[in-house]
Amino acid sequence: MIRSLVLLAVFAAAVAAHPGAFTFVIGNAVASQDFQFKSAAFALRTEGCADPAKPQITATAEGLVNGTRRSIPVKVMPSHRPGVYAVVQNWPDGGAWVVSLRGTCGDKSAGAIVPFGPQGMVRESAQFYARPATNAEVDAALKALASVK
């Protein structure tokens, strides 16, 4: 009984320590509900940041084209809805590409790797982290994507 109560207390403390982790949520362009981004590669928003206007978000398109790694800065554009952003494709179609998202909210950080296939974003294969993705994780995602293509 005591052991159960202790476990419950530890669990409750863990939940209290992370009242909604800071993370990214991605969706198709329509999720932005902003006509200016109807052609966007994808839309994104953050969760777990008390002030939706506070997060600092950057992104790069990481590619593997004919065996050569490429990296292109990507602009994360705010929509007319607070806390909702869009990424417009500025990387070439050929090769394997992922977008690496990095965000901070105060002392919290988040990362995501969003892969792209011939039909656009491969949402099911997106990976989310409580920190920026490492180069090794980006490379692994690109290799996995290239092997599928």
Binding site: V25, I26, G27, N28, A29, V30, A31, Q33, D34, F35, Q36, K38, S39, A43, R45
Partner: protein
């Protein structure tokens, strides 16, 4: 109407004149006229050329006047031709072969077409609710989008959205169709229930059977059984169109696929509270 307004009106009307290929014969006559102008001693024929040009200009002016006087003139394409209609400064509409359509309104705050039958492809880049297409089954309201709209002689149609959102409305009934989804339209029924184009065929057939009232019970069961997370687009519309006795089943399936966000209680959703439904739709859109 002041002179300035007339000029502006004429300018807007000119934007809707179809671009026609000049008959090949005209180029021969123009070349002849140029040759005549270049050759000395043929000034008399050059004057005739100017006279012909003046007559052509007068005819064009008459055509423009006709267009201004008859802004609702029908544009018809045969089985082999296409036309392009420029929609003010906000986009364009490709008129596919075998189509009959007309411009009903062309104002900065309202661009409206009437599609009698055939197929159009609209590409609009503007804030929502500036571009409308009327059909026998209702009105397609642009919410910043690109889409294809077909309509047959009986008023049955199909709306397929490739970018953005389109709202299809008829007598208070509304279907919201995002990119990647389609919605059938029916005379005297209005917009059907939208579904994603990649949904299973059985699911799409069930949607159609439900809309047309063909064995609704089986159709509802099939939709609920086959729905994927993304098909909450269909279920969100279905929630508002089923009998009250079936609404809980639809809600439960939606909640199982994607729990409602804060602010959307079971009671509010089942009561079809507009604010709650919008909140849930905006949240679901991240999975559509």
């Amino acid at each position: 109407m002041s002179e300035r307004e007339q000029i502006e009106f004429g300018k807007q009307a000119l934007e809707h004149l179809p671009v026609e290929k000049a008959p090949d014969a005209i180029w021969a006559s123009i070349e002849r006229a140029l040759d005549q102008k270049a050759a000395p001693g043929r000034a008399r024929f050059s004057r005739w050329g100017w006279a012909l040009a003046a007559a052509a200009l007068a005819a064009l002016t008459g055509l423009v006047y006709w267009t201004i006087a008859h802004p609702g003139g029908w544009i018809e394409t045969d089985a082999h031709t296409r036309r392009t209609i420029e929609v003010g400064q906000i986009g364009s509409v490709e008129v596919e072969p075998g189509t009959r359509v007309r411009v009903v309104a062309d104002r900065p705050n309202e661009h409206r077409l009437d599609l009698a039958h055939g197929e159009i492809r609209a590409k609009i880049s503007a804030p929502p609710k500036l571009f409308f297409v009327d059909t026998a089954a209702g009105t397609a309201v642009d919410l910043g989008c690109e889409y294809t709209l077909t309509d047959d002689d009986l008023g049955r149609g199909m709306l397929t959205v490739t970018r953005g959102w389109v709202s299809f409305q008829w007598k208070g009934l509304e279907s919201l169709v995002p990119a990647g989804a389609s919605c059938r339209t029916h005379p005297r029924i209005g917009p059907g229930i939208p579904y994603f184009d990649d949904a299973p065929d059985g699911f799409k057939q069930a949607v159609e059977n439900f809309v047309l009232g063909q064995d609704r019970g089986s159709a509802l069961n099939a939709m609920l059984a086959q729905a994927r997370v993304r098909d909450t687009l269909t279920l969100w519309h279905l929630l508002q169109r089923v009998e009250a006795s079936d609404r809980e089943r639809v809600y439960d399936r939606m909640a199982a696929l994607s729990p409602p966000p804060d602010g959307v209680s079971r009671e509010r959703a089942l009561a079809l509270d507009p604010e709650a439904l919008k909140l849930w739709k905006d949240d679901l859109a991240w999975k559509w």
